[in-house]
Amino acid sequence: MRFECHNLCKVYLTRDGSVTALDGVTFAAEQEEFVCIVGPSGCGKTTLLKLIAGLLEPTVGRITFDSDAADGRLRSALVFQEHGVFPWMTVLDNVAFGLEMQGVGRQDRYARARAFIRKVGLSAFANNYPHELSVGMRQRVGIARAFVADPQVLLMDEPFGSLDAQTKLVLQEELLRIWKDNRKLVVYVTHDIEEAVLLADRVLVMSGRPGRIREEIQVPLGRPRNLSDRERPEVVEVKLRIWGMLEDEVRQGLEMPT
């Protein structure tokens, strides 16, 4: 599985005219690759994910991929920053949701969901509702749901963005551990450079308003990774390079409030 974005543009029409969210985004992603997209807030990262997920249509450009689905769409699973899990379903039903939509029978989908619930350490909470869980636990539910559905592409929109630093570290390691056993193509959006470098094989740096890919950077780290890897000089250099690119964007964003 490989997919390519060709010259993706997205223009939103608003009451006061049009806003260009994305302007000519082109990149490719390979099977089993972990791609992180970093960029300043408002650079159209979420729009890009929704285009790949097929929730939005590009104004210009197209996405090519080889599909195994009957309706010819790219089977993706999107993990949202928050609000992604259904409050009216138990953890078990939430995790099994993707399979339910695919028409998998009750027993089969519960068995498969339980396996992933165990992997994210929520076995004791399978029959609880999301409001009984912490924010971090809810994000685990969202991640388990995405993996269980066995998509071709896993799309993650700052899934740990609203978590405290410690919880974030734990969940990042957990994500890498699960991903090691279920290698999928992941496109992971974040504004956190540290996170991008820790997780990704390749980092795409976006510019803000309108969003473009400014540069692609290969992360000079093998796998498995651990926390101390982030302090290695070649990694620090990569982080500084990314920050160098983003700093101007962030300053511009601050000077030109919209």
Binding site: K50, R73, L78, F80, G84, F86, M89
Partner: protein
């Protein structure tokens, strides 16, 4: 903590008991007119007499049948149209102005018109109750669908959910809390309208009992019937509260 909770719970009961005790005492001391304010013990005795002679049960059944037939005829279409309007902006554009125009009209005021159309019998009474139930159910349900966060629809679409699946797994459960509060409003309105219709034109039912008691100045019957009506209203709310706790566990516990 728990002790103060219990105290707060019993305080209203103690308050009502206190008021009744003062009332009873004032009447027996001759300081309050027993004609306008019969003593609570007299009212209780009247209530027991009406209950055992089957006058009260027969009239309760008459009122309840109007309430529930009217509710079924009004709330079910209200639910269906509400779900449709919540989901479709086109339907909203068509029906919103109509509802805005019709909803504020006091439903009891259309009784004469309804009687011209359906005759003076039982049908017109039930129809008025149904019309009154329709609006709160419709408005709450439509609002219930519209307040569902768009993300939930995106999740369903992302996982390839089809229309029927989105309806049963997102639209229905997502709107359920407000549908149930619509049901509570509809039930209260149904009782209100059933009593109002009976006050105006009926030979049986709690409303007609109240009117008859007033015309013959049997105030103790008036009070006994009013208390019965209040008890019905309270039990409706308890039943819907129980239903809500059973059907919407994710919402109730959050509030608790």
């Amino acid at each position: 903590m728990k002790k103060t909770m219990r105290l707060e719970r019993w305080l209203p009961v103690a308050l009502v008991a206190g008021i009744l005790a003062v009332w009873e005492w004032q009447v027996s001391a001759g300081r309050m007119s027993a004609l306008f304010f019969p003593a609570p013990s007299t009212i209780a005795a009247t209530f027991a007499r009406l209950l055992t002679t089957c006058v009260l049960p027969a009239n309760i059944v008459a009122t309840l049948s109007r309430v529930f037939v009217g509710l079924a005829l009004g709330a079910i279409p209200g639910l269906i149209l509400g779900l449709a309007m919540g989901s479709s902006s086109r339907l909203r554009a068509v029906f919103d102005p109509l509802i805005a125009a019709l909803h504020p009209l006091p439903k009891i005021a259309v009784l004469p018109l309804i009687m011209i159309i359906f005759g003076i019998g039982e049908t017109s009474k039930v129809v008025v109750v149904a019309i009154a139930c329709f609006f709160p159910m419709l408005i709450s349900t439509a609002a219930g669908v519209r307040q569902i966060h768009p993300i939930y629809f995106e999740v369903a679409e992302n996982y390839g959910g089809r229309l029927l699946q989105v309806f049963t797994r997102v639209v229905l459960p997502g709107s359920l809390p407000l549908v149930l509060s619509g049901l509570r409003l509809a039930l209260n309105t149904a009782l209100l309208l059933a009593i109002a219709v009976e006050l105006v034109s009926a030979r049986e039912g709690l409303g007609s009992m109240i009117w008859f008691a007033w015309e013959t100045l049997r105030t103790e019957e008036l009070y006994a019937t009013l208390a019965t009506t209040a008890a019905l209203g309270i039990s409706f709310n308890i039943v819907v509260q129980y239903l809500t706790a059973k059907l919407v566990p994710w919402q109730v516990e959050r509030e608790g």
